[in-house]
């Protein structure tokens, strides 16, 4: 066989290096410097924000960005990278929130202990929900997952009182005890740092998956499923892993949310939330790594700035969404990147 010319390991390495084009490979290396800078900036951010007039509000937005950023990145991995149209991500977020919230309320456990049960519950639910989607595709998956979200929303509005709270969902959920630790003023700082830790861990884990053989397998299954299976990709193994992995982080974000706000309403599972997250992915860049994060940043901040013209914002968002799907299907962020690169390229030449 071709591969049977036995080569010593050393010469193998050089043979690989000299033949491989860096632009062809599906993996990626993390450049240390930008990451370190970004981390330092995010560590310093609360202290800087504190000096600004709307410091508290900025911090609040950043925490929201971290939480929805986790959810959106996970959803992008499922929908953009793997092509599975799951519309139940907000429900999984809610499963995480409700599980952790109910545990603290009913069993009196500390939020730090309870918050681990949220992601576990979300993972279990996602894997069960994932099993039938192995046989379904496209529109059918949309309907199955939307159906689940509606059912869970119904359960949290009409279910037993310790879940539904008479239709209001969970209220007076024990928060993380940060205020008792450092006082009301600086408590928001600790929330920020905890959310940052969550976000960094989730982002790194998703980045690792994205540029690994696992990410390659997801993309292969998306592009041509039967073909991928015939090349050794086990759909069962990879899809269930995907559902479980993403649900864990999504549930994590949900658990954090409930112990941050101290409450969660079933209204979060109305279609509007889902559409907002979808818009982050679509505008940012379907299936790309940085796009959805950028989309999340913009669409977390925008509603707050445009609160006065909220109704026009939603109208505009709808129109932009439809136009992007047609004229820039790969998203606005990759498009912008390409323009910037072209501009820079011209300057260097």
């Amino acid at each position: 066989m071709i591969q049977e010319e036995s080569l010593s390991t050393q010469s193998v390495a050089t043979r690989i290096e000299e033949r491989l084009k860096p632009s062809a490979v599906p993996w990626s290396r993390l450049s240390v410097l930008p990451v370190v800078i970004a981390l330092l900036v995010s560590l310093a951010l609360p202290w800087v924000a504190d000096l600004l007039p709307f410091g508290k509000f900025i911090l609040h937005l950043l925490i929201l960005f971290f939480l929805w950023g986790i959810v959106v990145q996970g959803w992008n991995l499922i929908m953009g990278v793997s092509g599975i149209f799951s519309f139940a991500q907000v429900a999984l977020f809610a499963v995480g929130a409700w599980t952790s919230g109910v545990i603290t309320q009913q069993l009196g456990w500390s939020p730090f202990v309870a918050m681990w049960f949220g992601p576990v519950a979300a993972t279990v639910v996602a894997v069960i929900l994932g099993l039938p989607t192995l046989r379904l595709r496209g529109a059918y998956v949309v309907l199955l997952t939307l159906g689940f979200q509606e059912l869970f929303r119904n359960f949290t509005t009409q279910g037993p009182n310790f879940v539904a709270g008479g239709g209001y969902g969970l209220r007076y959920v024990p928060k993380f005890p940060f205020e008792e630790w450092v006082g009301g003023d600086k408590a928001q700082f600790l929330y920020y740092y905890l959310a940052l830790v969550f976000f960094v861990i989730a982002t790194f884990a998703i980045w690792r998956i994205f540029y690994s053989p696992i990410g390659m397998a997801f993309r292969a299954l998306r592009d041509a499923e039967v073909y991928a299976i015939s090349r050794g990709v086990s759909p069962f193994r990879y899809k269930l892993f995907l559902f479980g992995f993403v649900a864990f982080f999504t549930g994590w974000a949900g658990a954090f949310y409930v112990h941050w706000y101290g409450a969660i309403s079933p209204a979060i599972m109305l279609f509007g939330t889902t559409i907002n997250l979808l818009a982050m992915i679509v505008l940012g860049g379907w299936g790309s790594f940085w796009g959805p994060i950028a989309g999340c940043a913009v669409l977390t901040v925008l509603p707050e700035i445009m609160r006065a013209v909220e109704q026009y914002r939603i109208l505009l968002l709808g129109i932009v969404l439809a136009l992007v799907a047609i004229f820039a299907p790969e998203g606005l962020f990759p498009l912008l990147l390409r323009w910037v690169r072209r501009l820079l390229g011209r300057q260097t030449r």
């Binding site: 043979r15 491989l20 490979v25 690994s212 053989p213 390659m216 039967v226 299976i229 015939s230 050794g232």
Partner: protein
């Protein structure tokens, strides 16, 4: 020569319709074995059942003496059977290299675990295969930007990257022009010379005659003839039942299509 692959009384039914009926044949190590038959004869269905894409209704399929008819498709690939498809397919959004890496990292014997790293052996296999197929220069092209014949070759390359013992080719020269056809025939011969056994579906007789050591003709899911191509193509029943009267001259003319 020893038998590498064997179908014994294989039947495949869709509802009440029998796509493959009670079919038995065996392939010997190192040979090129062709399956011919008109459209709807059950050829691609047969490949689907062999490769595990759809389950057999009845019968046994053996590979190196081991029964494989209940295995999953990805498993069968790692055992050493790789197939191509009649319609040209690729992982369109991915680079040529990544296309081949899928096979090399997921489909070789011993792979298949969920890992975070691309191992060196997979990368090397992928590069070797690309070099062998003459696609190394285009490794960073998106697969969708290749020409039809290149995409066909890429599909074959991803199969080779799984280091198969048996290669199932579904109409390797279909959809190609005259020049590309003879290139592909040459290429399949080169693959066969590496020691890879080839089982192929083809109804372009010229290609069959150029490549196959033995062949089988399928009609309505049943075997109607088997043997050396020159004998089979002279078989009255094959000419009458399968190709119909008007093709008679062409066939005896050694032409096919």
């Amino acid at each position: 020569m020893s038998v590498i692959f064997e179908c014994e009384r294989v039947t495949k039914a869709y509802g009440g319709l029998l796509a493959v009926k009670d079919l038995s044949f065996s392939v010997e190590e190192g040979e090129v074995y062709a399956i011919a038959g008109p459209n709807g004869a059950g050829k691609t269905t047969l490949f689907d059942t062999i490769s595990g894409v759809s389950p057999v209704t009845n019968g046994t399929i053996r590979f190196y003496g081991q029964e494989i008819q209940r295995r999953r498709a990805d498993d069968i690939c790692r055992l050493g059977i790789a197939r191509t498809f009649q319609t040209t397919v690729s992982f369109d959004t991915q680079t040529v290299l990544t296309n081949v890496l899928v096979g090399a990292a997921m489909g070789r014997p011993g792979t298949g675990k969920i890992t975070l790293e691309f191992d060196q052996e997979a990368i090397q296999t992928a590069l070797d295969v690309l070099e062998f197929c003459g696609l190394l220069d285009k490794q960073d092209w998106p697969a969708s930007s290749l020409s039809v014949s290149e995409r066909k070759k890429l599909m074959l390359a991803t199969a080779l990257a799984t280091k198969p013992k048996l290669l199932l080719l579904d109409e390797p020269v279909g959809g190609l022009n005259r020049q590309e056809r003879s290139d592909m025939v040459e290429f399949v011969r080169k693959v066969n010379q590496l020691g890879i056994t080839v089982l192929m579906i083809e109804h372009i007789m010229k290609a069959v005659q150029a490549l196959a050591n033995r062949m089988l003709v399928l009609h309505h899911g049943e075997k109607i003839a088997e043997g050396v191509p020159s004998d089979v193509l002279r078989d009255e029943r094959v000419i009458e039942v399968y190709l119909g009267g008007k093709h008679r001259e062409k066939l005896s003319d050694n032409g096919g299509r």
